[in-house]
Each structure stands twice: as C-alpha cells, then as structure tokens.
Amino acid sequence: MPKEIKRSTNPLLALVLAWLVPGAGHFYVGRPVRGAIIFVVIGATFWTGMAVGGVLTVDYYNSRGWFVAQMCTGAHGLYGWHRQKALYDVVFKQVAEKTNLSTQGVIANFMHGTSESNDSRDPTLALVVGEVDAELQRQGVAMLYPTENVARGYAGVAGMLNLLCIIDALLLSFMGVYGEPEPSDRAPAREAA
C-alpha cells in the first residue's frame, strides 16, 4: 500500500495554479516530476498547434468549441487569444472603413454571420464576412483545410488534457494527498524494519 504524506493544501489554489500554468498544480501538491512533464508536454502540444495554424489557431469568432478547449491551457490559451484579438481589432477597423459601418457594427455582423445557426440572407452580413475573410487572406493568416483541423486539434487537445491534469491536482488537494507515493516493493521492507 503506497504511503503518502498528509498535508493540507488549498484546493482552490491547486485549481487556479493547474489551470493558469499547466503542471503547476502538481508542483503545488508535491509532485514536481509529474508537474514538469505536464508543463513541457502541454506547452509543446499547444505551441505546435500555433506553429502549424498561426495566429488564428485560437479563434473566438470562427471555432467556439475549440476555443473553449484551448482556454483550458491557461496562460498559453490566454496569450493566443490576446494575439488573435489584436489581429481582429486591426482587421475590423479596416473593414469598417471600407463598408462605412461602425467597428461595433462590423463585429456584430461578423459574429452573426459566422454563427453556426445563421441562415440569414442579409447582404450586409455576407459583405462583412467576405471582407473580413479577404483581409485575413491578404495578411496570409487565413487557414485552409487541413491546416485548421491539425492546428486547432493540437491546441484543443492540449487544453482537454490539461483539464484532466486540473481535475487530478484538484482531487489530490481535496484528499489532502501531498508528495509522491512510495514504490510498492519498498513498502513491505519498511514495515518489516
């Protein structure tokens, strides 16, 4: 039976740390080797996706499902979102100047135009979506099949795997488990001693 040290850890802190920096939750509950592996592997997976797909890998407007999964990587996802938002801010301003709409109007039309439930034939929606897509292609950041599947898949799977790690760190913290369990073949020798 593995012996684990009991020490009080704050579950909320474990949750926040595990989300914000992948692996930090395991460092907090005294499992630094696992924390280091999680930190490297989740980070490498997310940034492989970003390297393949570029700045639009994290895309709040066009792929909400993947976006939610990517946000589970904490700081990685937040930084990706920040870069995507900065790009879209520039693009929306350019499209607003071309279409004589306000920037807010462009954003509202683009969000409505790219939503999956949209079946409107409003020409303004089509114009705004077309102009935004054209501007993204002009800047060389638009993704095509199958790049978008690979990029968003990598970044999204990194997020889902970090969600597993968050739950694990949270459960260890709730159970008051701190540190690595001892190897099972050494435990009987200690008991005998």
Partner: protein
C-alpha cells in the same frame, strides 16, 4: 522565416500530413494520461510506450478494417 512568423502565419499541409500528425498526438495523450494515472514513476516510460503502441495499433486496425469494408463491400 523568423520565429515570430512561424507562430503568426499558417502553414500549408496536405491531407496525408494530417494523418501523420495523429501519431505525435497519440504520444501526447499517452504521456499525459499515464503521468497522472501511474503510481510509480520508474514504470512511467514503459507504460507510456505500451499505451502509445496500443492506441496506434488500434487506430491502424480500425483504419484497415474501414478500408477493407469500403474496398470489398459488395
């Protein structure tokens, strides 16, 4: 191309490349799953390799079965 360009512009991939990109993703899933599930760290790498092989062989078997059905189904 500099490093910031790499993370800014998208790359062009073929459908065949997409299939091969599944292999490192299977490895990543194996590493994270076994890292949080295993009790003894000294057995970690063998367990990762075992699970990785299991997933890849399973996917390959399903792929071959699907190809056989599509090719030879009357």
């Amino acid at each position: 191309m500099n490093l910031s360009d790499l993370f800014y512009h998208s790359q062009i991939l073929s459908s065949r490349t997409m299939l091969w990109m599944l292999v490192p993703l299977c490895l990543v899933v194996s590493i994270i799953y076994k890292t949080i599930r295993i009790n003894e760290l000294r057995r970690l790498w063998w367990q990762i390799l075992y699970m990785f092989g299991y997933i890849v062989c399973g996917l390959a078997a399903m792929g071959i079965a699907a190809w056989l059905i599509v090719t030879y189904w009357p």
